[in-house]
């Protein structure tokens, strides 16, 4: 694992999970991990415009651990559960 450049960047803090973004922050999608959904999650997200190397931004975070609203690309707003957003790794855009 230590040779994996993606994991290396994760350790350096540049790549974070989509779940960790704050409203207003955005990032470039690096990879969508499969989790327990096999291909299901990445295929669905790709169809909604949330795939590498597109931009995604956090719009709002519900309280009590509820789903997040993110904007993929130009115009698509997506509600996504935190556990699912955890699987989406993004390269955070600073500033």
């Amino acid at each position: 694992m230590s040779n994996d450049p993606t994991m290396e960047t994760v350790r350096q803090g540049r790549i974070v999970s989509l779940e960790s973004l704050q409203p207003g922050e955005s990032g470039i999608v690096e990879i969508v991990e499969a989790g327990s959904f096999e291909n299901g999650l990445s295929v669905r997200l790709r169809a909604l415009g949330l795939s590498s190397p597109h931009q995604v931004s956090m719009v709002r975070r519900a309280w009590f651990g509820g789903p997040l609203v993110v904007r993929a690309g130009k115009a698509t707003e997506i509600a996504i559960r935190r556990t699912e957003a955890e699987l989406v790794k993004v390269r955070k855009i600073e500033g």
């Binding site: 299901g40 519900a62 009590f64 789903p67 690309g73 707003e77 509600a79 559960r81």
Partner: protein, 612 residues
């Protein structure tokens, strides 16, 4: 009726040109389909395809064409049930043309679909729908350049307002004209799989043909969402909106049942009775109390169902329903459901049937089955009528509203408890990620709401008529034989007494048992059948129940009525939507046992505590 056409009719290999419509969800695909086909659409069962598809035969430019509305899918190669359905359809049924519907403001990601369809080797036309929205978002589209890149005709339209519609239809006719004489085509999924489509392919197709504004304009949706999706006020606002919908359905729909009742009574008194009085007495009795009662029951539902669907279509088309699912998901995921299940549960308060049909939005079959299992516990308006009657007869007026409210609470609690238990089993474990598109708010058009409501109503009638009429005929037989017998001496009464070993422990007497058996047909039948069973007018029945049934027994009766087998129409819907006899029987038996156990615990508990 057109929807009764036999399934075999679809087996003919294209006696008229067949046109399939595909597109992602929320692209207005069905809206375009409705605009083309008007009210002529019907639901066809396609052999080998697991869900019913809507299709219609329409005359365009002097030619009869068959349109098929395929489920909205995100990806032609996807794995969800709907995506399998589309793939199976295109591999099984040759088509003459595919209409690909695309949301023009999301063209950057949806352009993948026409590229895929081309790889499938199917002749196609691309409809860029929602031109009005794209304009509002400042997106400029050069359809001619795009058409040249794709090698397919591209039309910019607005299915909602009819913009560009005549030209789009012309291009459909022109495509068919150009293909005249060529045989219809089956999809070639092998070629699609061996073709690698990358981000560059998409970018190349669009570059120069589609121009996005530098900064997207702030939309009304963003402003509205600040309130409607508020972390604290969002949920109360949603409940207020739903309450308002129920209020409309309640205040217009329930009285409308009386108007229909007035009309059916008039027909009975002025047409049926005089005509039938010429024949023998048993025939008159059978036609009036056996068949006509069933017809009148179904008819009384018509305005309620229609109104309910008008309201739900308006709420859904506005884009609010998917936001409600977002708001409720926080709580529903804890019991193995998701936000959409709750929305359906709410819909069930009007009538379980449309709520069951609404689960079609779910793509995970286990999740869908779990939702279908718990929706029948929603306290529908027909059960409400039974409760109001019993509560008024047995409980003091001051306690009435509290008792009624307790049933609403129990309705939710019972559903959530069942979900929490069953979601642990493998068959009902949700395998679908919760990822939901939140479309921008849109103003629903009257035309669309009307077409939706009308279509759903027709489907309801198709299902309801057979079942309810068969059911009422059965009631008639059980309460009229042997001849001249009344009350407990009829076959039905004997059946009630036979079941006493089971029903006595939950405090339900033979008369009420028989009413529950009839309630299986439709809960509306319960009150009416009590008069037949007790052989008294309904006012006297209320009095009789007041003196012979204890409050604890009455509450137990209502509990059982709330949770046991829903009406036949609901059962038929469960069968139709799950497409499984096994699941339907399971849901029947489960709810019977569940109702009995809960009523038993309550009644015996009440006896132990010293209530009579």
């Amino acid at each position: 009726m057109s929807h009764c056409s036999p399934a075999e009719a679809n087996l003919d290999l294209n006696d008229v040109p067949r046109i399939a419509m595909i597109g992602q969800p929320n692209t207005g695909k069905s809206m375009l389909y409705n605009r083309i086909t008007g009210a002529s659409a019907y639901v066809g069962n396609w052999p080998g395809i697991t869900v019913s598809l809507s299709n219609a035969r329409v005359k365009l430019g002097g030619k009869t064409l068959e349109f098929v509305d395929l489920p909205g899918i995100y990806d032609l190669e996807g794995f969800s049930e709907d995506e399998t359905v589309v793939a199976d359809f295109l591999k099984t049924y040759p088509v003459d043309l595919v209409i690909i519907v695309i949301n023009a403001s999301q063209i950057d990601r949806q352009i993948l679909m026409p590229l895929q369809v081309k790889q499938l080797g199917l002749p196609a036309v691309v409809m860029l729908n929602m031109a009005d929205e794209a304009r509002k978002n400042g997106i400029e589209i050069d359809t001619e350049a795009l058409s040249a890149r794709l090698g397919l005709p591209v039309q910019l339209i607005s299915a909602k307002y009819g913009e560009g519609y005549p030209r789009a239809i012309e291009s459909v006719s022109a495509m068919l004209e150009a293909r005249a004489g060529q045989p219809p085509v089956l999809a070639d999924y092998e070629t699609l799989r061996s073709t690698l489509m990358t981000e560059e392919t998409l970018a190349e197709t669009l570059s120069g043909a589609v121009v996005y504004p530098e900064a997207p304009p702030q939309t009304i949706t963003q402003k509205l969402d600040r309130f409607l999706l508020h972390p604290v006020f969002g949920l109360p606002l949603f409940f207020a909106v739903m309450l308002f919908v129920f209020y409309i359905v309640w205040s217009i729909g329930l009285p409308s049942q009386d108007w229909v009742g007035f009309i059916t009574d008039w027909i009975q008194n002025h047409i049926l009775e005089p005509v039938l009085s010429l024949g023998p007495g048993w025939l008159r009795n059978f036609v009036i109390n056996g068949i006509w009662l069933g017809v009148a029951t179904v008819a009384s539902f018509v305005p309620l169902i229609m109104l309910f669907f008008f309201c739900m279509a308006a709420v859904e088309d506005s884009g609010y329903l998917s936001r409600a699912a977002y708001l409720m998901d926080t709580w529903m995921r804890r019991i193995g459901l998701d936000g959409r299940s709750f929305v359906m549960q709410m819909m069930g308060f009007g009538c379980n049937v449309p709520a069951l049909m609404g689960t079609r939005v779910m793509r995970s079959q286990p999740l869908r089955l779990l939702s279908m299992l718990i929706i029948p516990f929603s306290l529908c308006s027909a059960r409400l009528a039974v409760f109001v009657f019993i509560i008024a007869a047995v409980f003091p007026p001051a306690q009435g509203p509290i008792v009624l409210f307790s049933f609403y609470v129990i309705s939710f609690a019972a559903a959530f408890l069942a979900a929490a238990i069953f979601s642990r089993s493998k068959q009902f474990r949700n395998t679908e990620p919760f990822v939901l598109e939140l479309p921008p708010y849109r103003v629903p058009t009257l035309r669309q709401v009307w077409l939706r409501g009308y279509g759903e109503l027709r489907e309801f009638l198709h299902r309801a008529t057979n079942f309810i009429i068969i059911g009422t005929v059965a009631v008639w037989f059980l309460t009229n034989f042997p001849t001249d017998a009344t009350g407990l001496d009829t076959w039905g009464g004997k059946l009630g007494e036979l079941l006493q070993p089971v029903m006595a422990p939950i405090g339900i007497n033979p008369y009420l048992t028989l009413a529950l058996i009839f309630g299986f047909i439709a809960k509306e039948v319960v009150i009416g059948s009590l008069s037949t069973i007790y052989a008294m007018s309904s006012g006297l029945v209320a009095h009789q129940i007041a003196i012979s049934v204890s409050p604890a027994a009455a509450y137990s009766f209502c509990l059982f009525c709330l949770l046991y087998t829903p009406c036949l129409t609901t059962v038929a819907t469960v069968k139709a939507e799950s497409r499984s006899w096994g699941f339907m029987i399971f849901s029947l038996i489960f709810s019977l046992l569940y109702a009995w156990v809960i009523a038993f615990l309550f009644y015996q508990g009440a006896l132990l505590l010293g209530f009579e």
